[in-house]
């Protein structure tokens, strides 16, 4: 589900400013409002999906609630930060350079197997593990798993690294948003 969160946020961010430019006629509305409202909708949708699915499988006896809620939510939080950061950056980049839009499709498909929801880091050979942990989403998935399964599984993640990268992406995205406002052409 975090994979979908990331992919949907990405899709929502494409030309996010351009398609809602008419709302910028009102001084109260900022570019961040446009973007955050979309990302928040995605987050809520994702949580709702989680609730529905987990409820169904829980009643069927196929799902157990997380062993450690704290780690579980922490992992989700990193997923949200990662999706927000990506959305901020992508929204600005596509606004400034239209051709980048064409790259988003392939990239978001390549990320499906890579992003960490298909594998656990522990399954990978030692050398590859290091590279996998460069991806923030892999770290975030591992944290979610740590919360979900508790000490039954061996997880690998680097809390400092993932915090740094996610917050970095969000702040770079915010700075780009300030800059992109000067480029938005409104009708």
């Amino acid at each position: 589900m975090p994979l979908l969160l990331w992919r949907h946020s990405l899709a929502r961010a494409l030309f996010c400013f351009r398609s809602n430019a008419s709302l910028l006629y009102h001084k109260q509305v900022t570019v961040l409002d446009l973007l955050f409202s979309r990302v928040i909708l995605e987050i809520l949708g994702c949580f709702l999906a989680y609730l529905v699915v987990s409820f169904i499988f829980f009643t069927l006896g196929l799902y157990e609630f997380p062993k450690d809620w704290g780690l579980f939510y922490l992992g989700w939080m990193y997923h949200i930060l990662y999706a927000t950061g990506t959305a901020l950056i992508i929204a600005c980049v596509t606004e400034m350079y239209e051709w980048t839009e064409k790259l988003i499709g392939p990239v978001s498909y390549i990320m499906v197997p890579l992003c960490g929801f298909l594998y656990m880091v522990d399954w990978l050979p030692g050398q590859v593990q290091k590279f996998a942990l460069y991806l923030p989403s892999v770290n975030a998935y591992e944290i979610v798993r740590a919360g979900q399964f508790g000490p039954d599984v061996r997880v690998h993640y680097n809390l400092g690294y993932v915090t740094f990268v996610c917050l970095g992406m969000v702040s770079v995205g915010m700075m780009m948003c300030r800059h992109v406002r000067y480029h938005i052409v409104i009708e």
Partner: protein
């Protein structure tokens, strides 16, 4: 008061730079009715959008010291897939207006009826303008920015606009971009003429209209004052502009600055300076009619002391433009 200083807007697309507005400065008093006049593509809508802080300038400042509406016109301001009612609710919320009161007024004023429950993207441009206009009247701005329109729709709507905007809210400031000469003369008291990125400010709307219409009639006449001619370029490259300056007793190979400096030291009459500069910039004598306009624009009768500085700015702009053109 709205204070605009050194506004510049450049659009970049497909590797081409388009300077729409360059070095535009003016002030708007409360209650002033300003017309923005210019040909299609002269930058009227761009200026209105910059004034409404919808788009941001490439450089320069727009300083609002009163509440300013969003640009009222055919497009923008609404989320197309929402209905008129939903858009109204949104606007009521962001401007902190009582929704019930707003709705009552908008229903009565816009006469959109059942269309208010349809998505805005299904509206005709006239309907959209009517909705925008009705909404903006409930918010009580101190300054209304009006792009092209309001004079759309039928006679009835027209009359109600006049009643609400020009009679009941006669104390509000207006900035109107329009082509309609008679409307502008009726409503506005001052004007800005946009031409080739430059803006000329006139305290009297009649002068502004006269200037604009003359410029339209003779594109090579006064308009050349703000548009460098190729003949000038060629001449200045060969430094063959000696005749007009020798007449005012300055160094023949000098720039426009020296003409002004010579004026300041000689203390000749302001008209002579303007004439000399005209020759310097255009490479020919000013034609008498256009010259009269230019002199009037500078108001040299009222502020003779300011003249050299105004003209210096004028020449400065011209030379910057030349340099850009030579490089580009």
């Amino acid at each position: 008061m709205i204070r605009v200083s050194k506004l510049r807007k450049v659009y970049r697309s497909h590797g081409m730079e388009n300077v729409v507005l360059d070095d535009v400065s003016f002030q708007l008093r409360p209650g002033q009715k300003l017309a923005v006049i210019g040909k299609n593509g002269a930058g009227k809508s761009t200026l209105i959008r910059l004034l409404g802080k919808v788009e941001f300038p490439t450089s320069g400042v727009v300083d609002h010291r009163m509440s300013v509406s969003w640009p009222l016109g055919f497009g923008g301001a609404f989320q197309g897939s929402l209905t008129g009612i939903d858009n109204m609710r949104f606007i009521a919320r962001i401007y902190h207006i009582d929704y019930a009161r707003m709705r009552a007024f908008v229903e009565e004023f816009s006469e959109l009826g059942q269309f208010l429950y349809q998505p805005v993207k299904t509206y005709s441009s006239g309907m959209r303008a009517r909705l925008a206009f009705a909404l903006s009247l409930t918010i009580e701005f101190e300054c209304y920015l009006i792009d092209e329109v309001i004079m759309v729709g039928d006679q009835r709507f027209h009359e109600r606009c006049n009643e609400h905007l020009f009679n009941r809210r006669a104390d509000r400031a207006l900035i109107i971009a329009s082509h309609d000469a008679s409307f502008i003369r009726d409503v506005c008291d001052s004007g800005i003429v946009l031409s080739n990125g430059k803006a000329l400010y006139f305290e009297s709307v009649r002068e502004a209209m006269d200037f604009y219409q003359e410029q339209e009639r003779r594109p090579n006449g006064l308009a050349a004052a703000s548009r460098p001619t190729d003949s000038y370029l060629a001449k200045s490259d060969e430094e063959s502009l000696s005749t007009p300056e020798q007449k005012t007793g300055t160094d023949p190979s000098s720039s426009g600055f020296s003409v002004i400096d010579a004026y300041i030291s000689n203390g000749a009459g302001p008209e002579h300076l303007v004439e000399a500069l005209y020759r310097h910039v255009l490479g020919r004598s000013p034609d008498p009619e256009g010259f009269a306009h230019f002199v009037r624009r500078l108001k040299i009768k009222e502020f003779p002391d300011e003249l050299p500085y105004v003209v210096r700015d004028f020449v400065n702009c011209e030379e910057a433009r030349m340099r850009m053109k030579v490089q580009g």
